[in-house]
Subunit: 178 residues, 2 copies
């Protein structure tokens, strides 16, 4: 089961850092890619591609004008999960979600979420019914969906790699070559 | 074991939404309060207090000028955990962390983290060794620390409460009274 994230309604002036954090969380917690709608933002795209290039793995970032088209295309070939505090509690549905055989599109709203996404989604899932953040909701959702195994994933082809330490920082840089 | 979050170096112009998301995630995932340093931001404080008032529970938000003083005070009475991608992998240390009897201060950096926090912290913990977001790192950390039980916490005294639904939105508003 592969996971792709759809971020709705990005507005560069207001959302730059939140959308960037959201997409980096998608990558770090094992999604294979993300699509964003709203205003196109070359600076966002550049910074995500920079991270993906430095830190390895395969992660695809796309832009789409119409979220409805992305969702409609996806419904023909996979399952659409919308993260919302109004949905069903994660703990009640996670076992069913882990059993989904198809790829999953995880839809994450911006400030205002169009009402029809609640009906278009196959699942509306709440990561707590409290207001917090699409970044934390997505990360905990992916973490639960993968049963924590995403934490052990290796990002192949990285130029930079952290050597975990109890104190201090250590980063190994792979120099060019074959 | 109670958990308090320390957010370093808030800058309102750049960080408003990220700090707000971070503190809301602290609350939603079971921390009892948060302190932030950097520039004081009355608008941030108002929005967090508004959420806490509407959605219930007890959550205390404080401001401090000196993060060093907060950490030094805390070290006399509890354990200091610093979340950083350079630290020890969460999965390797979470069992030890769950066994801590004292309260825990979880330190979460801003854009630039002072180097000495790595030495002052009792634990430097990495929620993946990949770059993502302090919001996702904090949420997954608290989720693991509480073994997911924070998802079942009731927030007492809430004015607003979500009724989980497979599709659509339902919120119950408690009207005034005794």
């Amino acid at each position: 089961m592969g996971v792709h994230v759809l971020r709705l309604d990005h507005r560069p002036a207001r959302d730059k850092r939140v959308t960037s954090h959201l997409i980096l969380a998608a990558r770090a917690f094992g999604a294979s890619g993300a699509t964003y709608t709203g205003q196109r933002d070359p600076s966002l795209e550049g910074s995500i591609r920079g991270v993906a290039s430095d830190w390895g793995g395969r992660f695809v970032l796309d832009y789409a004008e119409s979220w409805r088209r992305v969702v409609a295309d996806w419904k023909r070939r996979g399952t659409v999960v919308h993260l919302t505090m109004y949905g069903l509690p994660l703990r009640e549905v996670v076992a069913s979600l882990r059993g989904i055989a198809s790829d999953i599109l995880v839809v994450v709203g911006g400030a205002k979420v169009p009402r029809d996404i609640f009906d278009l989604a196959d699942w509306n899932v709440a990561v707590t019914s409290q207001p917090h953040s699409e970044v934390s909701a997505l990360a905990v959702f992916l973490h639960e969906l993968r049963s924590g195994e995403e934490l052990d994933v290796e990002f192949e082809g990285a130029r930079l790699r952290v050597v975990p330490r109890a104190h201090g920082k250590e980063v190994i840089e792979r120099l060019g070559g074959i």
